[in-house]
């Protein structure tokens, strides 16, 4: 074993030798090494997070035909650091009647729920926090903590706009969690495991070709889960000012903001892991774990870009439309996909790879065609039912 084939374990073993050489007990040394690993991973993610602020602002500028940050440093890349200094020296205001402990705990929990997700992300075959055999469920579980942080922030702020934002956000989260779980079960069925590493390892063909509809639904539900436009009911500026984080200033707001960007990037990463082969890219990942990690981060960045693309081109959807979109469209479709994928997976098991992929793809196309047909009829019925009363009113006199 050397540094290039297994860097993390190499460093861990070296540290272990060093620490036990100093006379530390074995369990204490391994505990310290685990702690160092966590700190390094979190710091790396926070560094990427700082960069994401710049990426987000540059990309939104492109979408809106502007330049974006361009004053501080080359291409404005120092801008986020200037922002951080600004956030740090801002006055820290706690509103009157706020519940202090809960109010201060909420932004921490918000960022924590995102960073926890990176525990199960396999950056490379040998670089991962932990290979949980319930990885897909773990994503939902950390999402629950994120929801909790929004409720805590809203309730403790003692502000009615914040509370309205939280009510809306939880309604959205609860309803979009259902199709999200159903679509996450599709890679689980295909790989036969909920572990992220196993899901990546079994993607000889990327699952986006086997289950394209599931990939799209996962992205839609992920955007809803993030609470970004077009699903940004929690902080709809034109209606409730800034929603749940209306009362937060300075770095406390910064934590929510960082959490939101990191969350989007993380879900880009999970999109890549579940449907785009994770760290695999035409055998390039065999060059070494560092190359594999770069591939995964690049794919995560692509997912993040798709999320931004949707965010800055689609308008906010009204909340009743959003909820009926989830319950009447995405949920039945996700369950139909889940059942058909499970069935076809059993039927086509053992056939050669090409036939298997073609069969799965055909199933998805047929289901997609049926969905479009149903939607067309439903919208025509909707149009006709609106037209009728108007005609009668005209005919009456």
């Amino acid at each position: 074993m050397n540094f290039w084939t297994d860097p993390v374990n190499f460093i861990a073993r070296w540290l272990m030798g060093l620490l036990t050489g100093w006379g530390l007990a074995g369990w204490l040394a391994s505990f310290l090494i685990q702690l160092i690993g966590v700190v390094v991973l979190v710091s790396m993610m926070m560094l990427i997070d700082i960069l994401l602020v710049w990426v987000e602002r540059k990309v939104v500028a492109r979408f809106q035909d502007r330049l974006g940050p361009n004053r501080v440093g080359p291409f404005g890349i120092i801008q986020p650091f200037a922002d951080i200094i600004k956030l740090l020296i801002k006055e820290d205001i706690t509103p009157d009647g706020a519940d202090r402990v809960v109010y201060n705990l909420a932004p921490i929990l918000s960022l924590m729920s995102v960073l926890l997700l990176w525990a199960i992300v396999p950056l490379a075959p040998v670089i991962f926090g932990v290979d949980l055999n319930v990885g897909a469920l773990y994503i939902i579980a950390t999402g629950a903590i994120g929801t909790l942080s929004i409720i805590m922030a809203a309730w403790s702020s003692n502000n009615k706009y914040a509370l309205i934002g939280a009510f809306r956000q939880v309604a959205v989260l609860v309803s979009f969690e259902v199709p999200m779980i159903a679509t996450m079960l599709i890679p689980t069925i295909l790989a036969g495991s909920m572990s992220m590493t196993t899901i990546i390892r079994s993607q000889n063909v990327w699952y986006v070709f086997i289950a394209p509809l599931a990939a799209i639904i996962f992205m839609v539900t992920a955007i809803a889960e993030l609470g970004r436009a077009p699903f940004d009911m929690n902080e709809a500026e034109s209606e409730i000012v800034a929603g749940f984080h209306i009362e937060y200033t300075g770095m406390k707001f910064g934590l929510f903001y960082a959490g939101e960007l990191m969350h989007a990037f993380t879900f880009g990463g999970f999109w890549a892991i579940l449907f785009f082969g994770g760290y695999r890219f035409f055998g390039l990942e065999n060059l070494g774990p560092i190359v594999a990690a770069v591939i995964l981060l690049a794919k995560a960045m692509f997912g993040y870009w798709v999320i931004m693309w949707v965010r800055y081109t689609v308008m906010r959807i009204r909340i009743d439309n959003m909820l009926s979109f989830s319950w009447k469209f995405l949920t039945p479709l996700a369950f139909a996909l889940l059942m058909s994928t499970a069935l076809m997976n059993v039927v086509l098991r053992g056939t050669p790879g090409v036939i298997y992929v073609a069969g799965m793809l055909l199933t998805n196309i047929v289901i997609g065609w049926i969905v479009v047909e149903i939607l067309r009829r439903a919208s025509r019925r909707g149009r006709e039912s609106i037209d009728k009363p108007i005609k009668r009113a005209v005919a009456q006199p």
């Binding site: 579980a141 629950a144 903590i145 909790l148 409720i151 805590m152 309730w155 969690e177 909920m194």
Partner: protein, 169 residues
């Protein structure tokens, strides 16, 4: 004392302390938040016992659904959100007797139990707990009947909830 025992003791103290806070704090939302700490502690205990699936499900269901439902019930039913109600009901003496009797009974049962000194056996690395659980839930000679009955019950509850909430015009 191994590191697992130390973690167990810390988690146990957290669970008991937060459970005590749930029943003693006057603010209903604070009680719900303390309840979340308790439930999270239980999830940590499951994780310590190598029951990863149960630990995650505990967080998803109890924190993600039930505790948030509690908070919402409090938020939507109380006029004043910082409402402080009375801590005890009129039947507090009855519940005290029941609690003491239950606790006494538990102590009596646990005295005869020999599991305290047992050391947990490390599971082999290829032990697939989730797979075994999944097979047990759908195999006819294990839990398929209770599993299906529970799903039918939940479906009935769902339909019932929709019926109750449906506003017939």
């Amino acid at each position: 004392m191994t590191i697992f025992q130390i973690i167990f003791l810390i988690v146990g103290v957290v669970i008991l302390g937060s459970a005590f806070m749930v029943v003693t704090t006057g603010n209903l939302i604070h009680a719900a938040l303390w309840l979340i700490v308790t439930l999270f502690g239980v999830a940590v205990l499951y994780a310590l016992l190598d029951a990863g699936f149960l630990a995650v499900v505990q967080v998803v269901i109890y924190i993600g659904a039930i505790a948030i439902l509690f908070i919402f019930a409090v938020m939507l039913t109380r006029k004043e959100m910082r409402d402080r109600g009375r801590q005890t009901s009129s039947a507090w003496w009855l519940s005290t007797i029941i609690a003491v009797l239950t606790f006494g009974g538990l102590i009596r049962i646990l005295q005869a139990w020999s599991g305290f000194s047992k050391v947990s056996v490390a599971l082999p690395s290829e032990f697939d707990a989730v797979g075994l659980l999944g097979n047990a839930l759908i195999s006819p000679d294990a839990f398929v009947l209770p599993f299906e009955v529970a799903s039918v019950l939940l479906l009935a509850a769902l339909v019932g909830a929709v019926y109750v909430a449906f506003n017939q015009k």
